[in-house]
């Protein structure tokens, strides 16, 4: 089955991104496909390459990057939400791309299920 994922909150502050990641990993292991992860609202903060968590903590940004690379997942950061929150190409982690809200709607159309993680 083809899943789309929507993440509405930033890393560490809310559990949303953690849960979405563990959900995505399980889905892939079960043979499903993750069509796209769309980062909206504070979710755009999940894409900052400047993120540096304590050494004994998970690195939320980098593990999304790795999962996406290993399984060809499209990581899309909403441009409008990103601009007002200080996320630009300049501080965007490799593997993420900035695009429009249309990508979210398209994900809703193309995927069999769209699953939302937020606050």
């Amino acid at each position: 089955m083809k899943f789309g994922i929507l993440i509405n909150e930033g890393p560490y502050t809310h559990q949303a991104s953690d849960t979405a990641y563990l959900f995505a990993k399980a889905a892939i292991e079960k043979g499903h496909k993750i069509h796209r992860v769309f980062f909206y609202h504070d979710g755009v903060y999940n894409s900052s390459r400047l993120t540096e968590p304590p050494q004994d903590d998970r690195h939320i940004v980098n593990r999304w990057q790795k999962l996406a690379k290993d399984h060809h997942i499209d990581l899309v950061v909403c441009v409008a939400a990103a601009l007002r929150r200080g996320i630009k190409e300049e501080n965007l982690q490799e593997g993420f791309r900035i695009s429009g809200l249309g990508q979210l709607i398209e994900s809703g159309i193309q995927s069999d299920r769209l699953v939302t993680f937020g606050d």
Partner: protein
């Protein structure tokens, strides 16, 4: 239809509102702080037990365990891991998150 609830029922109205909108065949999955809604002996237990009579309710076990609530889950609530979460999403035609 699968409803996910990630908010504590003693802090917010999300679970309460979700339970008022269950249609025939709908299931509820409690995740994150939402798993506090799965507990015995709390001020919200009764309404959850009531809903359980007509709808399956699931709780994400890793979230239960993280919060130290493994021995307090209401009888009848089914515990799932992330694989079970994926299955629930696949089995239901749509998912609604009560944020």
């Amino acid at each position: 239809m699968l409803h996910t609830v990630n908010k504590s029922p003693t802090e917010r109205n999300a679970l309460d509102s979700c339970l008022k909108h269950l249609t025939k065949g709908a299931a509820v999955l409690l995740i994150e702080d939402g798993v506090y809604g799965a507990l015995k002996g709390t001020s919200t237990t009764k309404s959850v037990e009531q809903a359980l009579k007509s709808h399956p309710i699931y709780a994400l076990y890793p979230d239960i365990e993280a919060r130290g609530m493994q021995d307090r889950v209401i009888d009848g609530i089914k515990l799932v891991d992330y694989n079970g979460f994926v299955d629930l999403v696949a089995e239901h035609a749509s998912v609604q998150a009560w944020l």
